[in-house]
């Protein structure tokens, strides 16, 4: 049994923790939260320099050719600091989509740029409220031109390239080119920019066979779900640690609030949820890395339990902080906002619960 990160991966984690402690302290998150920027461009540049954006991209396309286990480690650490950067959009979604379905030409065109931070990527599926289905999508491509509106598009204001799910396929669109108009929309996580993008005949290249568009999208969602889940687990863990730290130092009626069972059992519940979620993420990372048949189950399991763990930990972290917890001045809000953002950014808990049972049914049928 060897169900653990290896020494190199643990070293990478330590390095990432040090790097992020230096370059993404709470003040950095707060600067984006309080300001008008859509992301922390300096931090992003440094992340690129660390090679994190290049992690799983093969060397032939300018990447490091590392495994998804390394990327999982980075995802968790970025989640732990609530990094205000477009890593999930660019790496888990856009890069993944091209790796998964891109032609050699497309890979050559985009992967080196994505690896080197010369381009930021994103993913555009949602066209408004509710759970999207292939049948309901209005966006479509005809004669290589994309028309329709996507809202919200995470990091859409700063992305250079978008992977767009249209009613008739999965497409790659150069957002710096013609036919893509963006308008910033505000989400409850002010530390992450989102946009509405109106496509008016933007040139679009099919990713994979257009008739496989919806199936490819589902596969992409599974792959991204594992990495999102790691980021969520990182945030959940940070929330638990904040809550614990505060509860140990805060006294009421002559003793630390951490000695009251109401708080102790709350933190124990966080620990339990976080641990189960993390263990499911391990399995997700393994399945992603080995491209196992279990991926749909593993992804949904990791995603559902991480979403639940992060929501619980982030809200009960505030609760543990009492009055200070809901002030702007304290950092608890970073995780509460991010928990909700990450949970809807890739489809809700109940969507993933439903995907999980579908995956079990398909696995039983196979």
């Amino acid at each position: 049994m060897n169900f653990e990160f290896n020494e190199d991966q643990n070293l990478l984690r330590e390095q990432a923790q040090g790097f992020l402690a230096d370059n993404c302290p709470p003040a950095a998150v707060r600067a984006v939260l309080d300001g008008d920027a859509e992301y922390d461009a300096d931090l992003w540049q440094k992340i690129v320099e660390m090679g994190y954006t290049a992690t799983v991209i093969p060397e032939e396309f300018g990447g490091l050719g590392l495994s998804y286990l390394e990327l999982s480690v980075i995802a968790e650490e970025l989640g732990r600091v609530a990094a205000p950067v477009p890593f999930s959009s660019s790496v888990y979604l856009a890069t993944e989509a091209i790796l998964m379905a891109g032609s050699q030409e497309q890979k050559e065109a985009w992967l080196p740029k994505l690896a080197a931070g010369e381009a930021i990527g994103t993913f555009a599926l949602s066209e408004g409220h509710g759970r999207a289905t292939a049948e309901e999508l209005q966006t479509s491509v005809s004669d290589g031109a994309l028309t329709g509106t996507k809202i919200p598009v995470a990091d859409g204001g700063i992305a250079n390239v978008a992977v767009v799910v249209a009613s008739n396929g999965l497409y790659l669109v150069d957002l710096d080119g013609a036919g893509a108009e963006r308008e910033s929309v505000r989400t409850l996580d002010f530390a992450r920019g989102h946009s509405r993008i109106d496509f008016n005949g933007a040139p679009a290249e099919a990713l994979g066979d257009p008739s496989d568009g919806w199936a490819l999208t589902q596969k992409l969602l599974d792959r991204a779900a594992v990495l999102f889940a790691w980021e969520q687990v990182g945030g959940a863990q940070a929330s638990l640690e904040m809550a614990k730290e505060y509860a140990l130092g805060r006294y009421a009626f002559g003793r630390p609030i951490a000695s009251y069972q109401a708080i102790k059992h709350k933190l124990a519940d966080m620990y339990v949820k976080n641990t189960l979620a993390r263990s499911n993420c391990y399995f997700g990372a393994w399945a992603l890395d080995t491209d196992a048949a279990e991926l749909p189950i593993a992804a949904a399991t990791a995603r559902v339990s991480s979403t639940q763990a992060f929501y619980y930990a982030s809200k009960e972290n505030i609760q543990t902080h009492g009055g200070m917890g809901f002030t702007w001045e304290f950092d608890c809000q970073f995780y509460y906002r991010r928990a909700k953002l990450l949970s809807v950014n890739l489809g809700s808990e109940s969507m993933w619960q439903s995907r999980l049972i579908t995956a079990v049914e398909q696995s039983n049928a196979a």
């Binding site: 599926l125 949602s126 408004g128 409220h129 509710g130 759970r131 999207a132 289905t133 049948e135 309901e136 809202i151 919200p152 929309v185 505000r186 989400t187 409850l188 996580d189 989102h194 509405r196 140990l248 130092g249 805060r250 006294y251 009421a252 009626f253 002559g254 003793r255 630390p256 009251y260 109401a262 708080i263 929501y311 809200k315 505030i318 609760q319 009492g322 009055g323 200070m324 917890g325 809901f326 002030t327 702007w328 001045e329 608890c332 809000q333 509460y336 906002r337 909700k340 953002l341 949970s343 809807v344 950014n345 890739l346 489809g347 809700s348 808990e349 109940s350 969507m351 619960q353």
Partner: protein
């Protein structure tokens, strides 16, 4: 069992409704006035007609009405949505009863009519950063200096401090005796030199509370309420009068808002309301809302029969606050990828759900955390014993504080 008023209640309701219909100012009449001016205008109008502070003694120009009459008045007044209420809540609900119990006739004769007529706005200066749920652990110092007291320290979570004329204040006069025994209680002019007020920004973006700093603030001894060292007993009077909330209070997110949303958004091509997991969640919230509503009806019946509202009313906040949080979160889940978008022109109901989600953590804490509410039910309703108290009987200065 029915939902009807008694004949006396019905008559009172009729009178109240008639007066309100005739006297509630129109939007035109209030045009150009700011929130505070509107509030003062309306309060004064009520006072002059004898409808202010219904339960207070006749000698202050009030009706000496019953508790249920007060409830009926509140219900009828609440039907007029343009009335600026709430500004006088702390003064009339907490400061006034404390003054009536502890102050000299001279003081009450001066202040109570002004409180009733809305001339003065009061705030409450109890909570401190180190206090939280442990209110009596407050540290703001008072020291005697001639006929005055000198106050130094910091209060927090003070609603309305910035527009208040007066404040009620508990301070520590003696840290060498056990916690509850070394407190002294005052009221003070909020414009006193040395009082500094800073708003606290909440994660929802609102700023409903303030920090209040005291630097060598002087209060005449004549503004002390109760004896030196008796501040905790005086505070109890204030706290017992914290308006007992009947029923669930109002939540920004209700069953009906979620129900409507679930009719509008789709899951897999069909309205979400047809999805049985959505139905199951909505049903549970309906049951909670309905349970709180009829618990409120039962409390009102008790009130109508002369009972005093008790700690069992904590149930409204204990159930309502986390419910608001979970409902808001679920509403955003129903919206799926667009759930986090807060732009009012895009988000349903102008961002109601996102706003409620960001406000909910405060709702679960302000006015008593979920955990304190559960303690109140356990101890004061069910009669279970307190936790062991390590701060009992030892000097306040020796109670461990972790700092």
């Amino acid at each position: 069992m029915d939902f009807k008023d008694t004949p006396e209640e019905a008559q009172f309701r009729e009178e109240a409704r008639a007066w309100l219909t005739d006297n509630v100012p129109t939007e035109a009449e209030m045009e150009g006035l700011d929130f505070m001016e509107r509030a003062k205008l309306w309060q004064k109008s009520k006072y002059e007609a004898g409808w202010a502070c219904l339960r207070w003694p006749k000698k202050y120009g009030c009706k000496e009405a019953t508790a249920i009459e007060q409830v009926i008045w509140n219900q009828e007044e609440a039907k007029f949505s343009n009335l600026p209420l709430g500004v006088f809540g702390i003064g009339q609900g907490m400061a006034a009863p404390t003054l009536m119990t502890w102050a000299s006739d001279e003081v009450t004769d001066r202040f109570i009519p002004r409180l009733a007529s809305g001339e003065d706005v009061w705030c409450q200066l109890f909570s401190e950063p180190a206090g939280g749920s442990d209110l009596a652990a407050l540290r703001t110092k008072c020291e005697r200096d001639g006929d005055d007291w000198v106050i130094n320290g910091q209060k927090i979570w003070t609603s309305g401090a910035h527009y208040s004329d007066w404040g009620i204040l508990v301070t520590r006069s003696d840290p060498s005796v056990p916690k509850h025994k070394g407190l002294t209680y005052f009221f003070l002019d909020m414009k006193s030199p040395g009082v500094e007020i800073k708003p606290i920004k909440q994660i929802s973006g609102d700023a409903n509370f303030n920090e209040v700093y005291f630097t060598d603030v002087r209060i005449p001894d004549s503004q002390r309420l109760g004896e030196v060292g008796q501040g905790w007993q005086v505070s109890i009077t204030t706290l017992m009068n914290e308006r007992a909330s009947i029923g669930g209070g109002s939540s920004p997110v209700r069953f009906s808002s979620l129900f409507e949303l679930a009719q509008k958004v789709n899951i897999d091509g069909k309205p979400a309301i047809e999805d049985s997991s959505v139905r199951a969640k909505l049903a549970d919230w309906y049951c909670q809302e309905s349970g709180l509503k009829y618990t409120g009806y039962r409390s009102m019946t008790a009130l109508s029969q002369g009972a005093v509202p008790g700690p069992e009313n904590s149930i409204g906040k204990l159930v309502g606050a986390p419910k608001t949080q979970d409902m808001a979160s679920f509403a955003m889940d129903l919206l799926e990828m667009s759930g986090a978008v807060w732009d009012p022109e895009f988000a349903p109901e102008a961002g109601l759900f996102q706003q409620a989600f960001m406000g909910a953590p405060g709702g679960r804490i302000a006015g008593g955390t979920d955990e304190i509410m559960a303690n109140i039910i356990a101890e004061r309703v069910l009669g279970l014993p307190q936790e062991p108290r390590l701060d009992k009987g030892i000097p306040f200065s020796e109670v461990p504080t972790g700092s």
